[in-house]
């Protein structure tokens, strides 16, 4: 095994071009587990810790450009106003020690359907900025990023540089099912973001299909129902029948498996419950009832 330690982004791209099998390592919270358990013996480890810009973020007019290695702790502490959905999801990642090291770039690179940041990224409509030495920068819409179980749209010579995430224009929520608040791989998870300026709702489902997915039919139904009823303008409470149908369609968007963490049936059911709850939380917050949830102890 060789340990590559590029000092700059350009050097990292050159190293990845020369050694396409190199496994990038930043927080190490996934890669080191595989190495410790001898599940993986990469020819090259490509350490990204020295590249300062990967640990930085920029808050722009309309979006946040979040460096791939920005640890979850920093997202929780610094970006909960701009990215409330992602901040809440970040707070459910493992433990303080893991949140101090792991970041969104690793979640995307690993592309596990259970990664906690995926539902929030799907719900907010993020773009993943990847780059190769040969072909330069690509901005991949998050909807096209996940390709299969632990497979993503990256080419062998590409590295994830940052994630471009639209700043929240409305309430966002994240919900996750697990056996305790900390150190839990999601049984299933659900993210929801209201986009009042576009009058749409976007969603993301985690750990209930081979890849993270949006509940597209549920979104389409809800968007039409909200438009038809004038809900965005009159700020009325969402009727139980709309919430119920939204939940049913969200359950239908799942394609889960039975495994040690939960059964397929349970996952389908729980995703429906979380869809209804996150819709109610965000909608009540949109209507001006700020008594929704706080980040304190959120999971």
């Amino acid at each position: 095994m060789d340990f590559l330690r590029p000092a700059s982004w350009e050097e990292a791209l050159a190293a990845k071009a020369e050694h396409p099998t190199a496994v990038p390592i930043a927080g190490g919270t996934d890669v080191m587990v595989e190495i410790n358990f001898d599940h993986r013996r990469p020819e090259y480890l490509l350490d990204l810790n020295r590249i300062a810009e990967l640990s930085q973020w920029e808050v722009g007019e309309e979006k946040v450009v979040l460096g791939a290695s920005v640890p979850y702790t920093q997202i929780i502490e610094n970006l909960k106003t701009e990215l409330p959905g992602l901040a809440r999801a970040s707070h459910t990642v493992a433990s303080p020690q893991i949140r101090n090291r792991g970041g969104v770039g690793g979640n995307l690179g690993c592309a596990s359907p259970a990664g906690d940041s995926h539902p929030a990224l799907l719900a907010s409509g993020a773009h993943v900025e990847v780059e190769s030495q040969a072909r330069g920068v690509r901005l991949i819409p998050i909807d096209e990023f996940y390709k299969g179980v632990k497979r993503n749209a990256l080419e062998a010579d590409e590295l994830i540089k940052s994630v471009h995430i639209p700043k929240a224009t409305g309430p966002q929520e994240f919900s996750k099912v697990g056996t305790r608040n900390a150190m839990v791989i999601a049984v299933c998870a659900f993210g929801l973001a209201l986009h009042p300026e576009k009058r749409i709702v976007r969603t993301g489902i985690g750990s209930a299909a081979p890849t993270p997915v949006r509940a597209k039919e549920a979104e389409e139904f809800l968007n039409a129902a909200l438009e038809e009823g004038g809900f965005w303008d009159n700020g009325k409470i969402i009727t139980p029948s709309i919430a119920k149908q939204f939940a049913t369609l969200a359950s239908g968007a799942c394609n889960p498996i039975d495994d040690v963490r939960g059964s397929a049936n349970y996952r389908r059911h729980a995703v429906g419950v979380m869809a209804r709850r996150t819709l109610m939380w965000t909608w009540e917050s949109y209507r001006g009832n700020a008594e929704g949830r706080t980040l304190e102890g959120a999971a």
Partner: protein
Amino acid sequence: MRVNFTVNGRKQTADDVWEGESLLYVLRERMGLPGSKNACEQGECGSCTVRLDGVPVCSCLVAAGQAEGREVVTVEGLADYAAHRDDAHPGGACGSGSCGTSLDAAQRWQAKGTDGQTGEGTELSPIQKAFIDAGAVQCGFCTPGLLVAADELLERNSSPSDADIREALSGNLCRCTGYEKILDAVRLAAARQEEAV
């Protein structure tokens, strides 16, 4: 490969490090510092918790090469680290390299002193004293990781709520105590810290 890093305030070099090796392995097997414990090797249990540039991390998930040029504090150096935070270098670590715990002293570190039960006569950090006084140590395997995590909590939050303590220690598993005595110990250390101010 060779790894140069700072351990407990002193510059150290580890040689013949395998590229896939963890920081934990280097600390235990190459530096002779077995205080940080090796249990789950997947970041679940927190018993290998150390400070990396001041931040608590699971050393089993840091590749040794990633520690190059960085500062590590292990439980063996915790007493000195806490003492210097409070006295010699308020608000920051020592930059001169004259402080810290030598590798030799760290390797020989034992909580013996004049009384093996209470640790009396041994240099201990306030959190270590509180763990002993509150009876928060049973088999002791999780203790080093908990001490490092709890010490960092009290460094940034002098009067943590129970929820703060629970969250700060949520990445450290203990299978003996049921956690109550550990929570007591952190509350005790926080109360003593408040009194001292």
